[in-house]
Structures are given as C-alpha cells and as structure tokens.
Symmetry: D2
Subunit: 317 residues, 4 copies
C-alpha cells in the first residue's frame, strides 16, 4: 500500500488502506460489482454530508442572545504524543503510541437531539416522567436506544435554493407550503419513514463571514410552529437542518415560552432532530444531478443515558 | 405518532418517529420500495454490529498486565436535568431541557485506531514525522481525514466458530491460513477494499464472566505477526476485531517490543484498525443466513487532530 | 539562588526560591524575627498536615460497599509539555512552556464538605431549599462562602494513640467520652471556634496494606451519632478526620438511612467537615512535643457554587 | 448553632460553624486568647487576599493577542444535585447529597506557576531535562514539591498607589527602583525569604470595565527584565502580581522571544511565581493601617506532576 500512498503523497494527506475503498469507488464498474448494494455515484456522494469539524473553531462560545450554559467547543486533550515518542519517554513501554481524550458537550456540533432532551411540563416522549432524567443520565429515552436505527431513505430539501436565496434571513419562518413547494420544484416525494434534511443556508453565511456570532442561540431562519402539522402528516423518521436549533428565532410564541416548536416536536411527537448539519456540499451535488434522495446513515454514539449525541452523517447515492 | 408509540409502550422503550423507519423495515414490500438501495433483510441486520455501550460498565479500569494510562470509561455528566425541570429551576429560560457532556478517551470503547496512533521509530504513516502529533493533536493523519470514508463492503470472518470454539484461548495466534480457512468454510471471498471484521469470541467470554479483568491490555487471542502478509496481499481497507488490541498477546516478539503487529500495520501499512467491536449478534445472524458480506458503515466522529475515534458501526445486509 | 540549589541537587528535588523560606525556618532566630507571628518550631511543623497526593493512586475506584458514582481519581492532563519543547514545536510561540488541566471530583482527596453537600428532607443548612443546588451549582451555601474563613486554632485528637491502637477497627463508634478522654490524656482543651482533627489510623492502615479497597464508602471507624451532642456543646468551627466519611460505618441507624450523622451535622448544625485528611506525620510530631494545638490554615479552592473543595491543610506550630 | 445562624440569616448567607471562628475574631479579647498565635486584626485582614472566584466569569476566553490554547474558565459540573434530591431519585441511597466535579486548567485563575512551567532551551529549574515533563506530567519540579512550603512573611508593594495611579498603563515596565521607592514610601523592608505581592491595578481596571478583553495574554504593566537583578539581590521566596503574566507586555526583547522575564525567573532562578492575584481589598487595608507585612499562607493543591496550581492565598495580619 505504501507505494500507492507515497505516489500521491505530495498532493493529499492520504488515509492509507482506506484509499483502496476510494480507488474502487473511482473505478466505476469494479465499485458497482464490489459494492453492488450501493447505488451509482457512491464515490461522488458519500462525502457530501458530514460533520464539518469538531474542535475549538466550532460555534460554541460565540456571542449569543441565549447562551447555553456549559456548552463549550470540544476540548481535545492528548494522553500521549508523538513528541513524547520523539523524546524517548515512551520506549520503556515497548511501543511508541499517541492516545487522546475529549471533553465534549454532546450537542456542541453536528448532533442528534435525543428524546430525553426536551420536556413538556413534567413529561418527556412517550409520557415518561421527566424525573427519569437525573444527574446519572436518562433512564428512559437515552440516545443509546437509537444506536441501530439511524439508517433509511434520506431526502434533502434545499429550501433556500428553491426560494432563490443564498440564505434565508433570520426570523424567516419556513412553512409546510415552503416544504411542499420545495419537493415539487425538486421533483422528489416524501415518504413515510424518511430522514428529511432541510437547508436554510445560515451556516454557510456564518462560515463565509468567518464568525459564529449569533449562531448558537441567536436569531435564525427555521421551522414555523405550523410545520408540526406537516411533520405529523408526512410521518417522517427524523428531521435535521443547518441551524443551531432548527426552529425559527425569534418565534411567534407568547412571552416566557422559548423554542415552542421544540416543546411539541420532541416530547409530544417523539421526533429525533438533527442540528448544526453541514449541507453545503450536498446542496451543490443535488443541484448538479437533480437527485435529492439517497441512503442516509447517521449513527449516534450510544453513550448510555445521553440526551443527545454527536454524529457524522453520510448521504450515499 | 403518539398513538402508535403508546400502543407498544408497555413492551419497549420506543424511539418515536424512528419507529416508522423500523415499521417500514418490517413491512417488506414498502421497505424495498422506500429503501430500494438497501438489500433485503435490512430490517433484520442493520442492528447486528454496533457499539455495545459507552458508560462506566465498559472495560477500562479492569485489572490489566499493561494498563493504558489515562484511559477511563466514559464519564457522562449532565449540564441540565429533568430533575431540574421538575424542580422548576429551568422555567426562567422558557423551556425545560436536559443537556449533557462527556469526558471520554477516544479509544475507550468500540473505536478506530487512527493513522497517527502508532509510530515506527520517529515516523507515522506515509513517512510523516512523529513530531506532527503534539499536545495540540495530530497535524497529519488526524482521524478527521477518514470522516467520509468508512463505508464499503463488509466481510465477517467468524474464526472462533469455524475453529469450533466458543472463544479462542488467550495467546492463540490467528494465522493467514486460519483466515483463508474461514473464508472457504463460510463461502465468501475477500476483495480489494473490503472492511474485514474478525471474531475471536473473547469479548463474549468476558461478558459471560461478568468481569473485564484481563481484557484491556491483557493476554488475548489475536492476529499473528505473519497476518501482515495476508493483509498486504488482500489489500483490504480496514480490519477490526472483538478484542482490546487485535493482535495476539503475549506475542512472539523479542524483549522490549510490545504489540509488534501494531508497529507495522499502522505506521508502515497505513491500515485503519477497529478494536473492541461487539460481534455476538452479527455472528448469530451470519450463521443463520449463511451470508457473511454486507454493507458496512462506521463513520468516525471527526475530532480535528484526533488519533482515534469512537464509532457505532453498522452491518447492513 | 542557583548555586544553593545545585549544591543540594544530588540529594533532593529542590523548590528554588522557596528554599529560602525553608532555610529561614531552619535558622531559628531569623525565623522568629521574620515570622514573629508564627510560633516556634514552624520549620518543623508547617508540613505536618497536608493533602497527601492528588493523582491516579488515590482512593477513588477502589472496591467499595457504597460506590460514589462519578468520583474518579484526579485526571491530570497536559495542554503543553517539555517533550513538545524538546521537539521544537513550541518555538513559534517564542517561549517553551508546559501547561496543564485537571478533571477532578471536588471530593476525591483531602477535602471539605461544603454546607450544600447534604440535605435533610428538602432543606440544606440555614433552612435553604435544596432546589438551590441545581445542575448550575449551589446558589446558596456554595463553598466559595468559606474562602477566607478556614483559618483558626487547630486541635489534634489522636484517638487511636490514646486508645492504644495503631488503628481503630472498622465499625468502632467514637463517642464524646472518647474525645474528652483524648483531650485529657493529651492535656489540651477544646475552645469555641476550634478546628478539630481526629485520627482513627484507618488511612495509615490502608497505605500500609498498599490497597485502598474498602476505604471509599466501606466500613470504617468514625464518629458515633451521639458525638453530635459533643460537637454542639463545644461549638467548634469545623471537624475533620482521616477516613473517607468521618462517621462510623456500619452505623446503628434504622434501615434505609445511610450516614445518619451527615444528615444532622451538615444541614442541621452547619458544620463544615473535612475528610481524607492525612495525619500520620502530625501524629508523630504531636506525640514528640506533646503539643496538640497549632495554627490551622486550610483554604478551600473557591469554585463558585461548589458543594465541596480540595484543600491542602497546614498545621503551623 | 442554628439559632445564631437564623438570627442573621436575613442579612448574609451564613457559613455555619465557621461563624464561631468569625465571631471569635470579632470578639477581640477572646480572639487574642483563642488565637494568640495570630496577630491583632486577624479578623479584619484574613480575608483580604483571596482567589476572587473560579467560574465561567473568569478571564479565560476573553479577546487576547496571545491566546493560551486550552485554557478555559473552570467548568463546574454536578454529579448529584439538590434537584435530584427534591425529585426523590436519591432516596434509594439512603441519603440526599449533592456532589460535583471540575474541569479546570491549573492556571486559569489565581495560581502559582510551578518550576516545571517554563523551559530555557532544553532545561528547567535545577538543570533538569525538559523531557522530564511529559504527557504524564512533571517527573521533576512538580507543584506537589511545594505543598508544605507556601507559608511565610508576606510583603505587599502597592506600586500603583505609590506612583499615584489607579492602574499602571499597559506597557509600563516596573523597575527595581520602582520597587525600592515603594518599600521606602510604605516604610517596609524586604527580607530574605519573603513572599512579595505587587499591585499594578490592572485587574481592578478590567473588573471596573466589566470586560476581561486584553487581560489573558494581552498588553499589561509588569516587571521589567532588569527586575531579575532586584529579585536575585533580595533573595525572595516567591513573587506575585495582579496581572495575567507578571511581566510587562509588550516587552523590549528581540523578535521571536516572548515573555523573556519568564525564561529567566522560572528555569534559571527557580522562582515560584503567582499570577492573577486579586489585591483590591488588601490595597485598601494596607493603606488604612499602614502595615504592609503579614503572615502569608497560599498552599498549592498538590496534583502530582502538575506545572501549576490554583491557590486561595491568605494575608493574615
């Protein structure tokens, strides 16, 4: 493998044996034979929807109208390093290895909101008592329950593009009509059990500005309260977007109610929600091939009793 | 959705909207239509290979001949709880929500060893200087490079079962012949770019004993040094097993060399390795349907500069 | 300073300029002049009562009848290292520096229990509602309230020595009479506002055994329930011991009540309690000079809203 | 005790038994009798020099010319809460208790720089090789070596006040003459082995502005390079100030050298340095009683192998 790798080493930071999977994918026919259960263009699309990055350059800590206490960017700490190896201090163990650890809020980047994340009065999804979520974690509705389930048909709804915008403005409330208009314009149908990913363009606007201020807990375009009806009618499996909180901010709710859409969608409807999804590349790709459906795989990291989880979602055409 | 959920609520802790994906999968025809790009029996198999659990019941901290300093089980900590909600202390924020954080070594459970994890003398994979892995993380070969690549054809090699054992004994060195014998017995072929998962049965033996002592850094069955030839010849994408460190322990190496197979497979061959994979259910399933290949999806959590990552691998038939 | 340091460098790991403070103390007359407000033998005693060590060799994680979930030994992690410096990767910052971080339960070693640590029914000390202690910390009775107060007259009661034991046996319930018998035998009087430190010998027994099993949350000698009367009568400022939880285990309380002494001493009496104090050297010293009183300084680390704090207590004669 | 406490409970958040120490101190004669080894006015001064606070309102994360990677404000996390108690979920353990944990860089607040913190080329204090400070911590010069030594005569030098300023301007380089002028104006002498605390007023200026921007790693008044001569001549035990890094920024050093004073004072002179000391109250007190010397007690939290430590320093007159 080494030769292959070195041959390309000036251009890219290779991934070793994984290159063979990549090469296969470039080989078309061989890819189709070897990976017959994956649709065509696997090689193009598999990298189109992913966790952008998890590090100190993430959105947490940026200026916010509604700071989420305790949510920091991931703190990546080394337990052993290559500099230790170089310094000879690891050799007594008979191997030169690096090792690491992370201190990470489970909702600091691309992530799933679990069903234990939001309560309606004293209950969570399925009528469980909110006291099931203690300092020891969620005894009910823990994210680990989803660990084998985040796989299905994915549908991408590029609302910003269909509405002719680079990004929807803060406060723009996406309606069920906007979503239906988008499916029609894209020529795709929503089916029961789909994983639906919606683009507002807000994240790309923040990335272009080089500043996350206002993104975590600030004003944003997003789902209007009435989309609850659309979600219920379409019986989708999960819903994700490229904003910090999916729903529109500010919202039309009465004083003292924050994120009213969350109050219903998680504890009452039991919808697993994805936030901070990076969809820029997926948007380009779907516009190019006019194909807005794909296989969607986004497994949670099943920390027992967690109310959320980072995920690295894949859209596979 | 609620009605559906409540209907089954006495039996299981439901996952809300995700149930529709699950129901679809049970519906056969609809599943095939909705998820045509997934092979039959998706509903049976998608949950057969997963991160078992990430919590204080994990293997870290158990008795070990070779303790890995700093590797603790995940420490799951709550930032807000349902008990806070019940106590009324969250209402001033206008929403009742739980939130959480984890302190987690990146290789404490089912995980990928990144290419920055092991050094050969002063180099890592692709000839990079080990000093690229500092206290600030891996400037080269960080796990984030793999984030869109952990997808392909998976092949399961149930070596323990083919050799007629519940579990291979500690110190048993799996050879290339054992692997070939297993593929023949199973009637499956290894192809270039495959993701190969090997079962020794050791994890199931520890789980049956109810005690992880000896698992992290202890004696174990695993790959012999000569399997390096088999790996190179077969040009596989990645290799995983159900033990703590994949290779046989103790090994045949000369004094002062620990995990000699690691010295070659990661920095010289550039193989991304999976460890602590839970394969009990996959083993049962493959024995039943005699199908040892499947779509394999196991994305890393792309923490920038990480040398390893937890993953929740899925085997999809 | 260097010369002085190097002169002794073969013998000890010096502390640089601090040596001068140490030398002063050895100089007798100069010490008395420079530190006139410190009593004689400062140089002998100032190091006789200290936090023993905070690292992975601490008592947390040992076998226990009553595991305290989430209490790990301190996890000390480096942000930058000397090996980074040696490897030249820090030079772009214009300085070669090491830096570090700790993940530490606040009650994992020698520590103070704050007044927000224990609740009686729904109240804490001073009648505050227990809901003042949320996931955001203690809004009332936080340890920071004590930050300037942990200074006063210290009295050491070497109960084990007076009762002629190396260590009191597990389950031995220390009574008020034992405490009075000890003060008489030692020729010291308890005064209002004193900081009283009691020795059972249990920690020394565990250290001698080289194994902490049974120490965190296990059986132990300690204060009987009736010592509450002694504490109230003597109006002491704080009470500390060398065990994990100060009170006797098992205790005489009715089923379903754990650590009954804690139920009263913290939320009802408002006593700040010290645990896991290392008193072996103090015991030797007091036995030698027959002086059981000293200046006591043990400041908490004032983390806002904390319910406990590590401390490095000093007994200064 | 309860009665006493409740009597004052409308005014202050009491500290329970510690009140007795406090009351004693207010009682003058009794205090002198009970705490004869503490000088007069103990009750006034003991709380005049302390760690201000350790929480998310600290200086870390503020805008900086020179960000110190990985230094966050303390992250205080609860392991159990009063809201858990109120919700009844703790009762199965037979006690209602709160418990907590901190994730804290060791130099994020009022702290000591240890002798392993800075390297000169490849060496630290006492000529030790910098490779003694690895990912496992400092094998030499760890902060735990100081655990019984941070006690002595303290001298406060209120340079800002003597120079007639509220705060010295950023970039003002304090000279040995400034320090001598201050001792003369204050009528205090520096003695061998003293702990010297210097006030620039910068921290108070930032607190008054309500914004830490520029404090961590930004421009600041502080010690000029030539004060090294003053420090060496006076043979002091330790030196502390109210800024982030003690030395003047920007400094007069040649390009590519950052914090040149640190390069010498720690690895060459072996001086333990205190930073981010809160001295506002001490300044007022000393101005009032014209007494600039006191007993100084500032024990480090002896985390084994640490290169720094938080401390809660006390000035006791």
């Amino acid at each position: 493998m080494r030769e292959v790798a070195l041959a390309e080493s000036l251009e890219v930071d290779l991934v070793g044996g994984l290159e063979f999977a990549l090469l296969l994918q470039r080989l078309g026919g061989v890819a189709r034979e070897a990976l017959a259960h994956l649709a065509r263009k696997f090689e193009v699309l598999q990298h189109r929807l992913v966790q952008r990055r998890l590090d100190q350059h993430g959105p947490q800590g940026a200026k916010s109208k509604y700071p989420s206490l305790g949510r920091i960017n991931p703190l990546h700490l080394m337990l052993r390093t290559g500099t230790d190896a170089y310094s000879g201090v690891l050799d007594h163990r008979g191997i030169r290895a690096a090792d690491d650890l992370v201190v990470m809020p489970l909702q600091c980047g691309t992530q799933w909101d679990g069903l234990g994340h939001i309560f309606y009065e004293n209950n969570m999804w399925n009528g469980y008592d909110c006291r099931e979520v203690t300092s020891f974690g969620a005894q009910k509705c823990g994210i680990e329950k989803t660990k084998a389930k985040m796989v299905g048909r994915g549908v991408f709804l590029d609302v910003a593009r269909v509405l002719g915008k680079d990004a929807l403005e803060d406060g723009y409330a996406i309606t069920g009509d906007d979503l239906d208009r988008t499916t029609k314009a894209q020529g795709v149908k929503i089916r029961r059990g789909d994983y639906v990913i919606v683009r507002t363009g807000q994240m790309e606007a923040k990335l272009a500005a080089g500043n996350w201020d206002g993104y975590p807990g600030g004003d944003a375009p997003g789902f209007s309260f009435e989309t609850l009806e659309w979600i219920h009618h379409n019986e989708i499996a999960a819903l994700a977007s490229d904003t910090w909180g999916c729903e529109v901010r500010p919202n039309e709710s009465e004083p003292g109610i924050n994120q009213p859409w969350h109050w219903i969608v998680i504890p009452i409807m039991g919808l697993t929600m994805g936030e901070i999804f990076y969809v820029a590349e997926l948007s380009e790709d779907c516009a190019e091939d006019k194909t807005y459906e794909f296989m969607f795989v986004a497994p949670a990291i099943p920390i027992t009793g967690a109310v959320g989880s980072p995920t690295n979602p894949l859209a596979i055409k």
